[in-house]
């Protein structure tokens, strides 16, 4: 500690941030688990309105899943590119991840608008409220992820693949993959049983 | 579960002496602060008449007695230690580095743990024995009453007799009671201190409260869960009467001019307290089920009445 160099000081800060981000994600995971629990509780609270079987479409959900998982793969490619500090490759892979994520979000919004137009709005029943809020909260997280990717791209163009960028990229990666895990939960708890019914 | 319950029950001799020991403790504890203040009827929780409420009171005092094993030493030590070891005395047995003792640790973990085991067994036994949902254990065909909490009054439907009252609950002393409860909108809690347990009434579902009414007695029941402006007025007399008086009372209500038509029910659903009891000489026995299903959509009616 006495001979603390600037470099190790910075490395410690990055390490702390990553650890802190893990803790934050755990808190976020609890938010999602409570929303999952709420969805499970309200599963049959359709108040005579449409239920899971009426509003789920497997093809849409399958394509959404594919887009989001692919976005994680391409993000992984960006991480590989970062290992070798290939700035342009990182940019390209981040760009593709962004587009895939945006595609996911676009499909989700489209799905929501369609449901509302059919009268399956979140105001219709407790069940639909819980569906929209659970899936929508994930969607809001994806939006935040997209904004974050955009700022990461801007930072990369400004500073290049520095240590600071790499640390931030690592946290972004944690967040991005966390959203996959949540989505897999949504797919298997919300969409699959809905379709199989 | 049931067999486990029996095993625990047989292991513990406590249930035999429970009420006597409880009453004794109760007497000793209450004699001090309450003597000469007001009558025992002002303390329904301490001087209950309902069989359930009596067991609940006894449980309370037995648990206090058990816990005093840990609590009294704290009082004594928290006064004695600071006096005995105050710095100005410069006691020669000062031992600044004494910070561990296996024996002491074992005692301070074990004693509270044993006490929790003791009270925990009581919890298991009596939570089952006093379960508001338990099926009737006593003889006799239960009196069924359906209670509906409405802003800020209680509607009691007697489906077996096809009649209803507002803010008056009359029960015969010789038959068990099977109460079903719901609420038109907000959550409330049905509570008759001194008679039996309390239980929530919630919209869209029916809760249950089964109990023995005990001796002839009059109580004040109320909603104990805050539900707005008229909350303090949401109370009603509860009368436990003889079989004969119950019959007479039924006959009186049968002669009442009012009938609980859907229209009357809608009028009742508007928020407002009801200072005097109402009697309805006829009531639809299916009304309660329909209220639980939300078919009367009380929430929407309350919107219009509250916004005025």
């Amino acid at each position: 500690m006495h001979t603390e160099t600037a470099h190790s000081h910075e490395a410690m800060l990055f390490e702390e941030r990553e650890f802190g981000f893990w803790i934050y994600l755990m808190s976020d995971a609890i938010i999602f688990s409570l929303l999952f629990a709420t969805y499970a509780v309200m599963r049959h609270a359709t108040a005579g309105g449409p239920g899971a079987a009426d509003i789920m479409e497997l093809p849409t959900a399958a394509i959404e899943t594919a887009l989001l998982l692919l976005a994680s793969v391409t993000f992984g490619m960006a991480a590989v590119a970062l290992e070798d500090k290939r700035r342009n490759a990182i940019l390209v892979w981040l760009g593709i991840s962004f587009l895939l994520g945006a595609g996911f979000l676009g499909m989700e919004i489209h799905e929501f608008i369609g449901l509302i137009a059919e009268g399956a709005s979140p105001q219709r029943s407790g069940y639909l409220s819980s569906f929209f809020v659970l899936v929508g909260t994930h969607g809001a997280h994806v939006t935040a992820g997209l904004v974050w990717i955009a700022t990461a791209v801007a930072q990369l163009m400004r500073t290049g693949p520095t240590e600071a960028f790499a640390a931030r990229f690592k946290r972004l990666g944690l967040f991005w993959h966390f959203l996959d895990i949540v989505w897999i939960g949504i797919f298997s708890i919300v969409y699959l049983p809905g379709v199989l019914q | 579960m049931r067999s486990l319950y029996r095993v625990v029950k047989n292991l513990l001799p406590l249930n035999i002496n429970l009420s006597r020991a409880g009453a004794l403790t109760a007497f000793m504890a209450m004699a001090l602060p309450l003597a000469g203040c007001t009558g025992s009827s002002d303390y329904p929780v301490i001087f209950p008449h309902g069989p359930d409420a009596i067991t609940e009171r006894d449980l309370l005092f037995i648990a206090v007695a058990i816990m005093l094993i840990v609590v009294i030493p704290v009082f004594v030590l928290a006064v004695w230690l600071p006096l005995r070891y105050r710095a100005s005395r410069e006691a020669p047995d000062y031992d600044p580095n004494w910070d561990h003792s296996h024996r002491a640790e074992v005692v301070i973990w074990l004693v509270p743990a044993l006490i929790v085991c003791a009270i925990g067994s009581l919890v298991w036994i009596y939570t089952h024995r006093l379960d508001p949902y338990r099926s009737q254990m006593a003889e006799g065909k239960p009196v069924v009453v359906q209670a509906v909490s409405i802003d800020w009054k209680w509607l009691f439907i007697y489906p077996q007799q096809h009649l209803a009252t507002v803010n008056e609950l009359v029960l015969p002393t010789d038959r068990p009671v099977s109460l079903r409860l719901t609420s038109t909108d907000v959550m409330t809690s049905f509570f008759v201190p001194g008679l039996t347990s309390q239980i929530y009434a919630m919209a869209g579902m029916g809760t249950r409260l089964n109990f023995q009414p005990g001796p002839v007695e009059t109580y004040t029941g109320r909603n104990s869960l805050f539900d707005g402006k008229g909350f303090p007025d949401q109370k009603f007399p509860v009368r436990i009467v003889t079989a004969e008086n119950f019959k007479n009372w039924i006959d009186t209500v049968r002669k009442a001019p009012l009938q609980l038509t859907p229209h009357k029910y809608q009028m009742l659903s508007k928020s407002g307290a009801m200072p005097h009891p109402l009697h309805f000489s006829s009531a639809d026995p299916e009304l309660f089920a329909r209220i639980v299903k939300g078919e009367h959509s009380a929430a929407s009616m309350i919107v219009s009445s509250r916004s005025k």
């Binding site: - | 031992d95 009596y126 338990r134 303090p232 309350i302």
Partner: protein
């Protein structure tokens, strides 16, 4: 343009609410005028509002807590006066006002008094106790504080503009839904809880990381002082419990703002789900507000008994067990909802199990006193008073954990007496003792002992007089939250309780007098050594007030009670041979701006001023993005500067203008305090 804001939102419905609002506004204006008069705006902004120093953030938290204690106690006082006189409707408060008062009292005391108080003390003490220079995320710390302050400001605003909720501090639906709770009140509650809840979650993250990563070399987990342990478990509880209330309040907001049906009485809503979510947070929250005080008592007992803490390992495990079990007992808040006997028994027994580690703690403290040399200072008064009062609350807590007993005590004043019996001795006594204990470390002089003890006695006796009658009223079957009543037998006990409230009011007054008297006598009460209590832990190794970097040289840790260990060996104050430069984070205005924007966002949504809400939201996002994109600025303190600061020593208010400027002989802060104090 202004949404639902019209002149009707002013509290014209009740003259008492009007005067409360006027007092609040005058208070704000008075403080603003004072700062303007002394020309201190720049100082306040540069040195306090934009600070990222954990000590100053801690002090600001405690100041906020005292402001809210005053407001929350005023509410309590009004309630006691109301109920003392309200037989047959003779009270002075109309129901719509009384119902806001009890809702505001609970919300304020838990979320905006206890939480800032304990967070403030944790902030101030923990880094110094573990040999760190600051927390892991100083900027985030500033954001946390300003979000808490924004939530508190929303609650305070509700007295002036609009109303507060009448649905109680728990805001149970369906009553808190739009049909039965129209108007702004519940919306204020939702936004205040959400905004401050984010702040508390971030505080939790910050302290988990700080305690894991920033301990001085040699300090293993099992060598952390007990207050740090308590803070650590508290921080973990914050991280895992706060999502519960965030989700509950957010879904209630969706119901109210967007017409959804999570908890409504119709269309499939399920109010029981809210109650589960709320208490999934609410019960751990009880331990969030109590554990730090347990930590404080552990420090005080050892220090003022001049003896090593007895049963350290037991105390640590007891704290952990309490933390874990706190998540397994939430259902005991609603045994009367009709769960099966098996479920009720399980949660009842789980609740009682918590009494075991709690009892162990009490006995460990008692055994710490055994064969000690006890100095009966004001701090020890609070500690002993806590033990005597807390065991009664613990006993009534176990009673309420017996489901059949709860069936007859639930929702009565017995319950109210029980949780005040836990929280006033268990949380507040500890926090007040902590405030008096660490005050010299913050300001370089001690607080007056006589006024401290006088305050304690008024609090202690006032507590018994105010709350023992409520137990009795519970036996009489009196429900909580009654604006008026018709049973004359209740009134004598309510009058006694009101007298208790008067005694507590005098106790609070004594605290205020203590502060003023101590400021005036600060030279007499000066702490010139940095260790005024002959304490045992690391934070007392520094000067008082501690220099902004806390430790010129980060110490090596050898023992749980490091300072006592060093004093035994006579090496507590060895000056190091040389200093190395220290990097510290720069102050930033982003934290206070984010807090301000969060306040505006909440306010705008409550009143449907959508353009402003969008603007404020965009502001928060933009600030987050910008702050996240630029590296944190740091500045370097040179060895010469460190040497100068270290030679400054201890004394009243040293370094309070600015630690570095002080060396140039600028003492104008002292001028400010002199003119207030003399």
């Amino acid at each position: 343009m202004l949404g639902k804001l019209t002149l009707h939102v002013l509290p014209l419905y009740s003259p008492i609410a009007m005067s409360g609002a006027a007092m609040e506004l005058l208070g704000v204006l008075f403080i603003a005028a004072l700062i303007t008069w002394f020309g201190k705006w720049r100082y306040i902004w540069n040195e306090w509002l934009t600070t990222v120093d954990h000590k100053r953030i801690g002090i600001m938290y405690v100041v906020l807590a005292f402001v809210m204690l005053f407001r929350g106690f005023s509410d309590a006082f009004m309630m006691r006066m109301q109920q003392a006189t309200a037989l047959n409707g003779h009270g002075y408060l109309p129901p719509e006002h009384f119902n806001q008062v009890f809702s505001a009292h609970g919300t304020i005391m838990i979320i905006f008094m206890a939480m800032p108080f304990l967070t403030g003390i944790i902030n101030f003490v923990v880094p110094q106790q573990i040999g760190a220079r600051d927390v892991s995320f100083p900027f985030l710390n500033s954001v946390s504080f300003w979000l808490t302050a924004a939530g508190a400001a929303l609650v305070l605003t509700s007295l002036v503009i609009g109303r507060f909720t009448t649905a109680g501090w728990t805001a149970y639906p369906p009553f808190s839904e739009l049909p039965t709770s129209p108007g702004s009140g519940t919306d204020y509650w939702i936004w205040a809880v959400l905004v401050s809840g984010v702040g508390s979650t971030l505080t939790g993250v910050n302290f988990v990381v700080t305690i894991i990563k920033r301990r001085a070399p040699g300090m293993s987990l099992m060598q952390m002082p007990l207050f740090t342990w308590a803070a650590f478990i508290t921080a973990i509880l914050m991280v895992f419990a706060f999502p519960g209330v965030t989700v509950a309040a957010a879904l209630l907001g969706f119901d109210r703002f967007l017409g959804m049906h999570f908890f409504t009485a119709d269309a499939g809503g399920n109010a029981m789900n809210y109650i589960n979510l709320f208490w999934l947070w609410g019960h751990p929250e009880v331990y969030i507000v109590i554990l730090p005080s347990f930590g404080i008592f552990s420090e005080l007992v050892a220090t003022f008994s001049s003896k090593r803490l007895f049963g350290y390992v037991s105390l640590v495990y007891a704290t952990m067990v309490i933390g874990i079990l706190s998540f397994t007992v939430w259902l005991h808040h609603f045994f009367t909802m009709g769960s099966s006997a098996d479920v009720n028994s399980f949660f009842g027994i789980a609740t009682m199990v918590i009494a075991v580690p709690t009892g162990v703690k009490i006995y460990d403290w008692l055994l710490t006193m055994y064969r000690g040399r006890i100095r009966l200072t004001s701090h020890m008064h609070w500690t002993l008073g806590f033990m005597v009062a807390f065991v009664i609350g613990g006993m009534t807590g176990v009673l309420l954990a017996i489901p059949p007993v709860d069936y007859v005590m639930h929702n009565t004043l017995f319950l109210v007496a029980h949780f005040h019996n836990m929280l006033i001795p268990g949380s507040l006594f500890g926090l007040l003792a902590g405030y008096q204990y660490w005050f010299p470390k913050a300001f370089g002089f001690r607080l007056d002992e006589w006024w401290g003890k006088t305050s304690f006695w008024f609090w202690f006796v006032g507590f018994y007089v105010a709350f023992m009658p409520l137990y009795v009223l519970g036996f009489m079957g009196m429900p909580r939250r009654m604006d008026y009543y018709q049973n004359p037998a209740w009134q004598p006990w309510l009058i006694v309780a009101a007298i208790g409230a008067v005694l507590i009011a005098i106790g609070i007054l004594c605290l205020a007098i203590q502060l003023v008297v101590s400021i005036r006598r600060r030279e007499e009460l000066a702490d010139l050594t940095g260790d005024p209590w002959d304490a045992r832990t690391l934070e007392w190794m520094n000067a008082s007030p501690a220099p902004l970097y806390n430790f010129a040289v980060v110490p090596e840790i050898h023992d749980r009670e490091e300072l006592a260990w060093r004093k035994e060996r006579g090496i507590s104050h060895d000056a190091p041979a040389h200093y190395t430069p220290i990097e510290m984070p720069c102050n930033t205005s982003t934290g206070v701006l984010i807090g301000g924007a969060a306040f505006v966002l909440g306010f705008a949504v409550i009143w449907n001023i959508w353009w402003l809400a969008i603007l404020a939201f965009a502001g928060v996002i933009a600030a987050t993005i910008v702050k996240g994109s630029v590296p944190e600025e740091e500045y370097t303190i040179t060895p010469d500067q460190i040497a100068a600061l270290e030679s400054r020593g201890s004394g009243p208010l040293l370094g309070f203008l600015s630690p570095l400027e002080d060396e140039r002989g600028d003492h104008s802060t002292h001028g400010l305090l002199n003119s207030i104090g003399d």
